[in-house]
Subunit: 325 residues, 2 copies
């Protein structure tokens, strides 16, 4: 089993790499090679049992994608992309990386005549407000950001390339990943992680939106689980609708804070400062709340069942992290 | 009012041109220039009151789109594209013309900093089976052909370019256009027109599918009406969801034939030969049946209210056509 990961230097890419190194196999088959691609050089960890190589380059360039596909991967995890805020601020960059990069990769696979499983990380940003309370799998696609449009267009390509037999694709629409490890970032969604991560580390965290905001989360551990599960799915069982909304935990910010209180006590909760931010609120108020994710659950994708579990996953994987790998 | 029509040499393009020449105005304003583009040289009709020019070239080439946009149109009718069957048979050509050509045109408009109304002809092929009996406006987009994917991707771009203020776009999803004038073609949908057009001309026509097949039709006259109406719509009234399913007449093939009988008598109906064709049936059985088209109707788009009217429109516009223009 030869595996290619694009965007391997990102948070999900690094965690997926660690998981594959630990498992040594994917979809029941031993891993023989792992190729890590990113626009910046990804770290190349050591594996005792298979080759790990790195490739640095721009996916939208044909020489990059051709070289990657020449490694003849059996499974491609296509994670590379610029994030929502960046795609909105830089229109050209977003389309170039998120759309042209994806299409160039798909085209290179088609030209090479290999037919790998392609697992693509899409996003709930393909949906746009107004929303029902629980968003069904067949909710229509009306993205309200350039990022969402780029993900939607990439999903459509993935479905068409799969239908034509050029590869066997699965698109997974990730909910917000929480608790994100590392430092606070400027993403509008950053506070969802910040209000848990910082207090657990004894630091203050700002809450820019009302506690009534409901949103759906999955842990980094679940996101890696989705990717691994997607790699082993039987395409015939999935059928022609190849883009799946992943499950997650739909909770209000208030419920997130109650979970923190149960796990880390009142002292942790006191570190959360209410700092209303109109800019963030204007963005977040149009975000989706809860998803049915019926098809994904039926196909065996599993997320946490409570926000308590999400916090515990963070504590196990990040705060006691060294003993995990 | 300066007007650009891409794909002007096609059936819809030629009829739109004739209509604009006749009206002399669009959205209440006098027409000062009409620019006709196509990959083959479009006919350049004479207008006594404004300039009509032709441009021949490949829309996916930057020199073509830049030259077109340099004419500084106030309204762009973007009709150019390869048809469904061709896009399915020639994967590269379909994406090149239907996606890259559209994107190149949109990009040229963005670069030029003009902000025209862009009316784009999309298609009900953005929808994919299985369908409910009546397809609502917010039915999800899961096209099952490359053509449908290309139209869906173009719609998404149109909405995003509109949201970003680069132009003011309206996408109109056309139902099957019936009765198409001219000779029979190889399109899988050709028989819907053929079983009316040929008998009216005293010729035999093959019916390759069961009479129970239900499908939605609008006349060429209605299609031109949609385009003209879209050009004059207030974008603020339309809101962020810029792609609209057009109304039409949803009827079974049996009802089409009954309408023909009412208008042209039993002798005409006798010219229809049942010739089951498994290939056509395999395609047509997955086609959508009826559409609600609620938003489009509310926004003032009008189609025929019966198939009898569609036949009469064909007879008036084509069989007595010379006195119309």
């Amino acid at each position: 089993m030869r595996i290619l990961i694009t965007g391997a230097a990102g948070m999900i890419g690094r965690k997926l790499t660690q998981r594959l190194l630990r498992d040594g196999k994917l979809a029941g088959k031993p891993i023989s090679a792992l190729i890590l691609q990113d626009i910046v050089p990804p770290a190349v960890p050591h594996s005792g049992t298979f080759e790990v190589t790195a490739s640095t380059g721009d996916l939208a360039k044909v020489e990059t994608t051709d070289a990657l596909v020449a490694t003849r991967p059996d499974v491609v995890f296509h994670l590379a992309g610029v994030v929502s805020g960046e795609a909105e601020a830089n229109f050209d960059l977003g389309y170039r990386v998120n759309l042209d990069g994806t299409r160039a990769l798909f085209e290179a696979i088609r030209r090479a005549g290999i037919q790998p499983r392609v697992v693509f990380t899409s996003s709930i940003a393909v949906f746009g407000a107004p929303f029902p309370d629980i968003i069904p799998d067949d909710f229509h696609l009306t993205p309200l950001t350039s990022y969402g449009v780029q993900k939607m267009m990439s999903e459509a390509l993935l479905a068409d390339y799969t239908r034509k037999g050029f590869f066997d694709g699965i698109g997974i629409r990730l909910p917000t990943i929480c608790v994100r490890p590392g430092k606070p970032n400027k993403a509008a969604s950053g506070f969802f992680s910040g209000i848990i991560r910082e207090p657990l580390a004894g630091m203050e965290a700002a809450l820019p939106v009302p506690r009534s905001v409901v949103h759906t989360h999955a842990s980094p551990r679940s996101a890696i689980g989705f990717l691994i599960h997607a790699a082993g799915l039987d395409g015939a069982t999935v059928g022609p609708r190849r883009n799946l909304t992943m499950p997650g935990v739909g909770v209000s910010v208030g419920e997130q804070i109650e979970a923190l209180r149960r796990i880390a006590g009142e002292d942790a909760v006191k570190l959360i400062r209410e700092e209303p931010d109109d800019t963030i609120w204007a963005i977040v108020r149009n975000w989706p709340t809860r998803f049915a994710a019926t098809r994904a659950r039926e196909l065996g994708f599993e997320a946490e069942s409570s926000f308590d579990e999400i916090i515990r996953a963070h504590m196990e994987d990040e705060l006691e992290g060294s003993r995990q790998s």
